[in-house]
Amino acid sequence: MKTKKESSEEMFVSGSCHDEDQPAFPAKRSKPEVPSEEIVYHPVKLSRNDLYRPPSAEELNQLKEAESLFHCSLLKMQMEELLKEVVLSERRRQQIDSFIEKVTKCLQAVPTLPKVEVSDLSWLSGPVKVPFLLMPKATKGKFYMTPPASINVIGSYPLGTCIKPHIKVDLAVTIPADVLQPKDFLNQRYPRKRALYLAGLAQHLSSSSEVGTLRYSCLHGNRLRPVLLLTPPGKDSSFTVRVHACPPPGFFKPNRFHPQRNNVRTEWYTGVQTAQPESSGPPTPHYNSSVLGDLLPRAHLQFLSAVSSQCSAFTDGVALLKVWLHQRQLDQGTGCFSGFLASMLVAFLLSTHRISNNMTAYQLLRNSLNFLASTDLTVNGISLAKDPDSSAPSLAEFHSAFQVVFVDPSGHLNMCSDMTACAYKQLQHEASLSMQFWDEPTVDGFHCLLMTPKPMIRTSDHVFQLCDLVKLQSTCKKQNLLNDLMDLSGNYIQAALPFVLSLLQQGLGQRIHLLTHSLAPDLEWSVESDAPKYKAQPPLSFGLLLQPELASCILEKGPAADNPKAVEFRQLWGSRSELRRFQDGSITEAVLWEGESMCQRRLVPQQIVTYLLQVHADIPEASVRHIGGIDDVVKTGSEVPTTGEEESLVVVQAYDDLSRKLWNLEGLPLSITAVQGAHPALRYTQVFPPRPLKVDYSFFDKEKISRSLIPKEGKPCPAYITPITVICHMEGSGKWPHDRLAIRHIRAAFHIRLAELLKKQHNYTCRACPSHLDVWKEGLAFRIQVAYHREPQVLRESVTPEGLLVLRDNEEAQQLEVATIHKPLLTSTLHGLQQEYSCFGAVCRLAKRWLAAQLFSDDITEDTADLLVASLFLQPAPFTPPGSPQVGFLRFLHLLSSFEWRNNPLIVNLNNELTAADYTEIKNGFMASRESLPVMFIATPKDKKSSMWTKRAPTVQMLQRVMTVAAESLKVLERQLMDGKQLQDVRVVMRPPLDAYDVLIHLNPKQVPLLSQAVDPPSVNFSRGVTAQSAAQSGGSLPVIDYNPVFLYLLELREAFGDLALFFCDPYGGTVIAVLWKPKAFAPAPFKTSQVSARTVKVTGNEAKTLPNVEAILEDFRVLGKDLVKSVEAKMDKWSF
């Protein structure tokens, strides 16, 4: 029975937790510990002999290299380890080699068939289809199936740059010269014959037992270049062989494919006779380069092998570059920067002597990124051709035909022909970003560079999708892109994309740093089905990296009315553009977007995108799917929806006013030295910032003496008024007593005095208590605490019997210090962060809303959560600081789910105060005393050693649980957001799984004052004694401040039953308190006077054992929460004691 409970507990903390050796649950220790699982860092201990033995020359070199070349030998070793992980093993290579041998044999045995017309497919018996979209249908020419002239392995595999995962081995099959005719390069005749040839091969292979699955795909999404994918039989399909069909080398003359020549006749493509003479049609550069690309793979392989043989680190360098590209999703799809291009880039750098042959892989990667960051291939193309023949096109000619130019060794082919300028800009942006943080000693460079994946949704501040890709057809029609369509053989997505991108770039202009788009993925389909249509592609996603200051500007100011550019402006903005007169007297064209509150203004880019696509690209609003709406859960406000920025500002302004008035108070015995806010609302991070309220007096009882309001029994609980903590430091003086109790009394006297003065001089309603002073001001409640800077010191002092004055740290002093010194400091620091990054507060609010909704707000406290979010802004590498609440929230979830707290401290460099030396110091200190430090260790400049914000919570189990739930939430959310078919409902991740808990206490909504803030707000709401009018006055009776039955109940429960159970609740309108029994408390314990709380006794023989008195405890839940508790639901079936 006991083991069963244990396992359920383990389920709760979700199994594979590495931190089992923490002391919290010693029951787990009983498990036999496997030494190999024991992954704990212990400081190294080298013997004296080892450290001081004379070094050999080699060792000396190695040490010196590590010291000078890399930051530390760590990075070097990390890269070596990474390479070991991605490089193919010997066993895998053997598998691949033997499979290729079999396939080659099989392919050579292809039977020869009689010659037929190209359009005649009768020879293709069986279910195998041709991987080609026949558009238009008619083709001239003859074709027959015959064994290939030669079969070679090409590409990355023979070069040794092939890496895991998705191992792809390229096999070039040469179509015999007899099958082709010299004029075949025209009008898609050659591509069609190639597709037929592949179909023939597929048909032959499908009957062979040597091959597992057969599928078609196309090379980098280019439908003119289909490939056949083979996997070995059996389950082990860890690699695929890509069969390319190629013409014999030199079959076509390369100068036929000059980017300015036409090889697809308009007449043939449209079927309409025109009077134009042959060969003077519009140039077809993309068609040309796709045919030419087939001619050259062997030459490229030869070239790269030659380069590789000279530079020993070539393969490793390229492998690293490929990993880097893969993490940024740049290496796959149409117009990608593929591994082939990566090799070519390194080869280019070697041939131009920017990299020397004896550099290491690390330097290769660094120099490549440096080159990419500093060179703009959209303007200054590069060429590998050493001495191009005269017929080869010039770079200028390439630039006029393509957006990005990187010419191959032959001088005829642009290898980046499909790449859009935006894709290259993204590559460049990534490279320069990597270069920025590479040298930063405070960043874990290796991790950011090569280990962190950067999916678009977590990278871009705003993401939207084009769902109905068919709509792009009308874009082509509207913009008259027939020539491009012909060039791209009817691929309307590729044809329309450059236009859409330039339109958006123009419209968004200064508002964005970068516009990125997803690369259409390589489709794969079975050999027995037809090639999928273009519209079957997944939606096209666009990402915006916003310029925070300008992105939410509601005014787009154009040129003056008489400026010639005004025409252009009007054309772009159409009917939205209107003439406006500004305060400075200028009259210009301008566009005004809607947006009153910050949360509406954030949607301006969204409005622009929708509008422009509708007007210029004929894409209806319904086809554009903006990803967002996450901030719905923190939205308030009835008329104008807001996400709290405006309310926070009101609070901060009221506080500023109050602090000014405090400073100017006359008649205090000591002067005030500082007034500091210490509340999340004063740093813009309160989930629901307090709003000024006006109280309805008739709703309350009245306390006679102090004229204060008191909640009435039988009525719904009054609205909760948050007290906003303000710390008020008093001047130090010899008059302060040197005794803890006396200080406490003096503070109370100050509270009384302040209350009197505030009442007299400003007519604020005040209430003085020994511990604080509540001030009711303009509908907000401030809680002022007087502090004396030497009080913690006094609390620490004690005198030993010998009369020695000693300082001993204690809990009380620490708490006081946190409340009066560290909290105000954190508040002002984070307030500063908000000024720098406008969406910081919104991200905090979302993050804390999620934590609260998942019932974690007692484990990850507000301050901890704010620090976690701050770390996302202060150390965004490999990203840029979040520019929207949504992306910030997603990264917060990712941080929570992936950070390895066991072995790493999270260092939050507030105000940029920490230096590299501090970082090392913190890390070393952390490593040395890991066991005694909090599970979640967060270091800040003011707190390098103790992690004060996480000292109390979370525990190992709770942290593990938080991580699991965060990972799951992130997965669900990202899938939902990126899947065009699903409805976007962020609330899914805000509903906690309640079946993991043992008892649920359902609360009476009437007595839950924050009910309207619930994740799923109820339809009915109760009157809570506040009137709707917003103009709140100072003075009058003191309203009910800080009265929340739910908090009071939770406090009582925890104090009474904290040893037996954990209590969880969503502080923002949660109507359920979830209870989890502590398994340890349910084991029979011997009768001890200190351990009998809420337990019954059971006598066996001469021994008395105690067990929790569950029935009575459940009864107590009801008794203690009378009128608040609706029902107590005990899930007995889950219990096992």
Binding site: H18, I39, V44, L46, L51, L63, A66, E67, C72, M77, Q78, E81, L82, P165, V323, H326, Q327, L450, M451, E703, S706, I710, P711, C717, P737, D739, L741, A742, H745, A748, A749, A768, C769, P770, L804, L805, V806, L807, N903, Y1043, P1045, L1048, L1051, E1055, S1090, V1092, S1093, A1094, R1095, V1097, K1098, V1099, E1103, A1104, A1112, E1115, D1116, L1120, G1121, K1122
Partner: protein, 282 residues
Amino acid sequence: MAPSKAKHASGQPWVIPGGFSVLSLQFSSGSAARHCLYVKEHKVRTEKSSHRPLDRTLFLLNIPPYCSEVVVKELFSQFGGIESVELRDHPGSSQESGPKISKLFRPAEKQGFKVGYIVFKNSSSLQAVKSYPFDAPLVVSTEQRPVKTGVQKWIQQYSESFIQPEKLQQKVDNFMQSYDERKEKEAEQKKEEAERQQEEEEGWVKVTRGHKGAKARPHSEAANEKTLQKEKRKKRRKELLNFYTWQHRNTQKEHIAELRKKFEEDKQKIALLRAQRKFKPY
């Protein structure tokens, strides 16, 4: 409770090993579940305080949070007259040290399960309690004296938390006055002592060593520490570095050892990460 019913005839007291008698307690007469109170006569070898006379004091365990001192007094008055009731978080001797301070200035009390000490007027009451039958529960809240819990209690608490500024001021003044008096008295005492030291018998003044010096160096831990540090620094300043060849050689050796150590550390970190499969990029 189920086992107890099976074992004990009705109307009998139940005494468990350890000498505790078990009483049952329920919140109201309608409650289905009961708590167990464990009672025993108060017996400690060294009871210093006179508040708990050994023969008349009852020691109570497991008092639910809704039972205040008043309620406990009510519940047990049926066994005889009660002199005082004391509820505490933990068992232990009472510590009534320091000046008496108002409730307002004491840290908030915990609202958990408590232990109690009831002092009866007569020692015979103890026996009455111990022989009280187990199956006749004590009822906390009856119609005559309802105990407020939940929302009612919180509202009451809220309204009781108000205190008139004048009263508070009064309390502060009182305390500070007594504090000042105490300080004065202490100061006087010290002065007297000093004087006494100075004028020892027969008008001779005793010269103690370095009275001034003692004043200059305060008698505290931090000061001791500081002096030690200063001494150390002085010593270090006198040393010469890299002066002799062997010193220079040693420095170089240390450097290499440092590099080696770092290398080993890094190697270990890597091994650790590798064991956790931290190098799989995707």
